[in-house]
């Protein structure tokens, strides 16, 4: 399967710079500039070169007739654990901000391909939530078939995962016999871990500044010992790393926003934020975004007050809100979650579509490159056989930077090839085993 896909992608990669594709006669859901009926999208060199009803393509262009179909920007999932090798938690300390998820990514997680088949093209891969500060995250595109270093989005902002509530206080986790419970075990302790990390980071910065000042003055000075965790925390304080914070309850949300205000940094995106609707004013005032799943609730106590109206209430209060998955399964149909934002709380169609596209792009600070169908942006988009907010629709073709990474027709052909290949190999194995047995019997 993978090999076949790889071969396909490589063929397509030839002359990626010059290749031109025209998707014509579709309903284009641009997300940022309304809907274009019977419109076309011209893709050149991996970028969107033209959008509209009057787009012409050069003679050598690959033309895709999308009559009756819909084009939506690639869905952006700001909460993923796909393609992580092994555990997502470095559980040994309450603050493991020095570790990086990018060091543990693989390119053979079939989930990436399945997400492409649901129109999802980009994701923020996060650590788990076992620690108050879990580690540095990574923004990727699901370039299935390409080596994993090509999945990492060049120039994407650096990001880090924080976590509040039941998980970092190990409420639902009993340590194995012989292992001590880890601090913290209350929301008080979680706050203290985060606060102390920043206070330590300020000391670290002060020592570094002191050293630099001495050095500049030509005085003898010993450089402070490098500390990767403190450097990470310092980079948050100086705005070089964006914070994405897992949280549930209203109290802990307010706690973190106040702590961030006090320490002088901004929370870029509150993750899950299931009780965000209770403190939407406070979230909006701080300027944090919110990424949430729309209707999961009741799986733990801090999710008992979760309501599907959360997205609509936060949006109405001016919070930049996206729907995201935290799940290999849900990541395949985030369009459903967007539709639910209309059902529960009455967002408009355009507002709903934004929750799974441009809003996530803004939260990742990549909206100048992805998240809508606009000239100059990366050609990350999918052709749907019906309106993406309908439960009866599915994806026909998914593009990343103008290249096809999923195509239903080709998938159907390849799965048949795969089935035959598997059958042959199984037969070979069985025959070989039988022959060996015979040989032994002799």
């Amino acid at each position: 399967m993978k090999r076949v896909l790889l071969a396909l992608v490589i063929t397509l990669s030839v002359n990626a710079q010059e290749r031109v594709t025209l998707i014509r006669n579709a309903t284009i859901l641009t997300v940022t500039n309304g809907t274009i009926e019977r419109g076309s999208v011209l893709i050149r060199g991996g970028k969107i070169a033209a959008v509209g009803t009057n787009v012409t393509a050069p003679a050598n262009a690959r033309v895709i007739d999308a009559t009756g179909k819909f084009v939506l920007p690639g869905i952006i999932d700001t909460h993923s654990h796909t393609a992580v090798e092994g555990s997502v938690n470095e559980v040994s300390l309450p603050n493991t901000g020095m570790v990086r998820i990018a060091d543990a990514l693989t390119d053979d997680d079939i989930s990436a391909y399945r997400q492409l088949a649901g129109g999802t093209t980009m994701a923020l891969i996060l650590h788990g939530s076992a620690n108050a500060i879990g580690g540095q995250s990574q923004i990727v595109k699901w370039k299935w078939g390409r080596p994993v270093h090509e999945w990492l989005v060049d120039g994407a902002p650096r990001t880090i995962k924080f976590a509040l509530g039941e998980n970092p206080k190990s409420a639902n986790f009993r340590p194995p016999p012989g292992m001590q419970r880890q601090y913290p075990s209350t929301r008080m302790g979680v706050e203290e871990v985060v606060r102390k990390s920043f206070i330590d980071a300020r000391d670290y910065l002060a020592r570094r500044d002191e050293y630099e000042a001495k050095r500049k003055r030509g005085e003898a000075a010993i450089p402070p010992r490098r500390d990767l965790l403190m450097e990470t925390m310092a980079d948050i304080l100086t705005g070089r790393i964006d914070v994405h914070a897992h949280c549930y309850r209203a109290d802990e949300i307010v706690m973190l926003l106040r702590l961030a205000d006090e320490q002088g940094f901004r929370i870029r995106e509150l993750q899950h934020v299931l009780e965000g609707y209770k403190v939407a004013h406070e979230i909006a005032a701080h300027g944090a975004g919110a990424g949430t799943f729309i209707d999961w609730w009741g799986y733990k106590h801090e999710a008992y007050d979760a309501i599907p109206y959360n997205v609509a209430i936060m949006t109405r209060h001016g919070v930049l809100t996206s729907v995201n998955s935290d799940s290999d399964e849900l990541a395949r149909h985030l369009n459903h979650d967007a539709a639910k934002a209309m059902k529960y709380g009455g967002l408009t169609e355009e507002e709903a579509l934004r929750t799974c596209t441009i809003n996530g792009a803004k939260q990742l600070r990549l909206d100048h490159r992805v998240g809508s169908i606009e000239v100059g942006k990366d050609a990350d988009l999918a052709i749907w056989n019906g309106h993406p907010l309908s439960t009866y629709s599915r994806v026909d073709t998914t593009f990343i930077e103008g290249e096809v990474y999923f195509d239903r027709e080709q998938d159907l052909v390849r799965r048949e090839e795969l089935r035959r290949e598997k059958e042959e190999r199984l037969k070979k194995e069985k025959d070989a085993a039988a022959a060996e047995k015979k040989e032994k019997a002799k």
Partner: protein, 429 residues
Amino acid sequence: MKRLALMLLAATPLFAQSTIPNNPGVKATVAIRNATIFPVTSAVIPNGTIVFANGVITAVGTNVSIPAGATIIDGTGLSVYPGMIDSGSSVGLIEIDSVPGTVDTSEIGDLNPNAQAAVAINPHSELIPVTRVNGVTHVVSVPEGGIISGQSALIQLAGWTPPQMVVKSPAAMHVRFPRLRSAPLVEVPQEEEAEKERTKGYTKDLDRLRDTFRDARAYAKASAAGTRRLDRDLLLEALVPVVEGRVPVVMHANQARDIRAALEFADEFQLKVILSGAQDVARLIPEVKRRNIPVLLGPILSLPQREDDPYDLLFSNAKILHDNGIQFAIQTQDAHNTRNLPYHAASCAAFGLPKEEALKAVTIYPARIWGVADRLGSLEVGKAATVIVTNGDPLEIRTTVSRVFIAGEEITMDSRHTLLNEKFENRPK
């Protein structure tokens, strides 16, 4: 009322009881007219009228006289459907997954045929209003865990006590058919020794299951013969109607080899069997068809087990069963989001199942499979007035369900979620 309910909500101890108003106990005479009516078992009726009284549908059609004194609902622009039925759910048995005190799904041990969902349904669970306001009016509430998990109950999502909610109990006996748990999900021959080790636990489980059913068969025979007084054995007693073919067994199995083994086991004991899960069912069409057994598919919005499975494996099964004339229904195997049942069904339609079939898979088909099609699953005269009013196709997320009647009683559209929404949507700064 809503404000009062909320105050009560705030004042009640944790996870106690929902304060959402229950069914009113009034089975009024109601006529919904000028609506598009989807009886499910017959053609759509534009500009139709449906009348029900004393909890039973008395008329459906275009030329219907409305009884004097009936409450008349103008259905202009609205659609009327039967309530939807989830064939596998744990609504009623669970409140918060991570709080063990609120979870009654899985009994200890592997063999619990005497565990009955019907006695543990919490009529005041917050999940019940959340589920029914999206048009899912009935669920089969299913015990989990072990090998023989227990007896499910088909319940309506309204009632003041568990007996008032139970439509049928036992609905079925549930067997989680033993599977090769630790084996890698590949089908190439394994090293002989390793294979032996892996199959040890499996064989043991299978033997225990077989022994239990043999004992039950013997117990049934001895009871029927009445030759001598038996010390009662509640475990075996629970299996008597099963081995006598009066209560169906739901065999939960997903992989082809496990489904096959489950079917052969059912043959051996001549059980009335329903397949559940059945992810690999497309590989076993002749075996399933030959036995004429129904299949409960779902959750549909779920991942295939093997990495080389087609991405749409679970979306496509329903179409394959339909094309082969095999009876099926769609289930969520969820609790908190059993309300999403219609979208599991719609996802099958996105991959080739006709839309009308997707609707049937959550209405009349489950009613037939569970033996309650005389009361539920369609809008027909004489059936229970379990009716939902919508502004469109309930299998579309964007559709709103505006009214729900269960057995003729109009249910409040309030839920924990709507009340929290009302409390906070206009919160002052």
